[in-house]
Symmetry: none
DNA sequence: TGCTATAATAGTCAAAGATGGTCAAAAGAA
DNA sequence: TTCTTTTGACCATCTTTGACTATTATAGCA
C-alpha cells in the first residue's frame, strides 16, 4: 500500500532524476499532497539523510525554500574510509540501512547484495541486549563493507 | 468441523493460487474472519512456516502489511529447511563457510554474495567470547540464508 | 535612512493514529 | 489429560498531524 511518505519520496526522486539538486517550497509540496507541512520534514529526515547520500539546505522567511542536493560520489577508497569511520564501534539499524541503500544507489552493490547485508545487520539477526546490538552490528557491518569494496576491486581487475 | 485456522489457511492458499506471493493486512483479514488479529499470526506460524515452504515478511505502522512468499521449487524449499536445521542455534565458522561454498556451487548465490556472507559470519565480525560467537553467528547466518532464498524467488519472479 | 511590525516561510517535538508482534492464559478438541 | 486453537493484554514500529518556535523579507513609519 503506497504510503503518503512513499509517494512524496517518489515524487522528489523523480524531480531529482534530471538534476543533482532541486529546490522546493515546503508548504506548496505539502499542499500538493494535502498533508501537514511537517510531513515533508519527516520524509526528508527518513529518506534523504546524509547517510542516504543527500544534503538538505533550507531557508525560512519570505522566499524560503528547501534544497535537496545529491552528494557527489567521492573516490572509492575515500568512500570506504569515510563509511568505516561513520560506522565506528557502534551503529544503529536505521543508519546501517541508509548506508546500504546508498551503496545500492551508487551501484556498488546489487539489490540482492544489499538485501543480504540488511538481513545480516537487522534487529532479528543480532539477538542481544540493545546496547550490545549496536556494537556488534558495527563489527559485522564494517566487515561486510570491506568485503564490498574488495569485491569491487576484484571486478575491476576482471574487467581488464 | 472446519477450524477457523483451517479456513484462514484455505483462504490464503486460494489467494496464492494465482501468484506466488501476496500481501495482506493482518487486521483486515482478522476482521473478515471475525477473530483476533493474533490468530493470523498463529495460522502463519503453523501453516506457512519455512518448513512448509513459505517465507513471511511484514512491516508495522501506517501502511503496514504481511507478505507471504511461496518457495516455488520443492528442492530448494527442502534445502533451506535443512540448512536452517543444520545451523540451528549455534554454528562454527568452518561449517558456515562450507555451507556458503556449497550455495555458491549450486549457483544459489554469486561469488560476491558468498564472500559477503562469509565476511558477515567471520571470527572478525563477531567480536565476542567464543561460546557466544557461535550462537550469534547462527542467528546472523540464518537470517542471511532466508534472504538468499527470498532473493532467489524474487529473481524468478522478475524473469517472468 | 534606519527601525519595527507583520507576513511568509521553515523547523522541532511530542502526541495521536495505524499497523503488526509476542506471549501466556483460556477454551476447545482428541 | 494432552495437544491445538483462540483470545486479549501489552509491546514495537512507522506515519501523520498540530501546536509552538525560529528565521527572513518587506512594507510602513519615524
Amino acid at each position: 500500500m503506497a504510503q503518503l511518505s512513499d509517494n512524496i519520496e517518489q515524487f522528489i526522486k523523480e524531480l531529482m532524476s534530471e538534476d543533482a539538486h532541486i529546490e522546493l517550497r515546503r508548504n506548496e509540496l505539502a499542499q500538493h499532497f494535502g498533508c501537514a507541512p511537517s510531513q515533508i520534514n519527516y520524509v526528508l529526515a527518513t529518506r534523504f539523510s546524509v547517510d542516504h547520500g543527500y544534503i538538505i539546505e533550507s531557508r525560512r522567511g519570505g522566499g524560503g525554500y528547501v534544497r535537496i542536493v545529491r552528494m557527489q560520489t567521492r573516490g572509492e577508497e575515500n568512500l570506504l574510509e569515510s563509511l568505516l569511520k561513520r560506522v565506528g564501534n557502534s551503529v544503529d539499524e536505521e543508519t546501517a540501512g541508509a548506508i546500504i541503500s546508498n551503496l545500492y544507489e551508487r551501484k556498488l552493490v546489487t539489490k540482492n547484495e544489499a538485501l543480504l547485508m540488511k538481513s545480516a545487520v537487522s534487529r532479528n539477526a543480532l539477538a542481544l541486549p540493545i546496547s550490545a546490538k549496536d556494537v556488534l552490528r558495527a563489527a559485522v557491518f564494517r566487515n561486510m563493507l570491506m568485503q564490498v569494496f574488495k569485491n569491487h576491486e576484484e571486478a575491476k581487475r576482471d574487467d581488464v
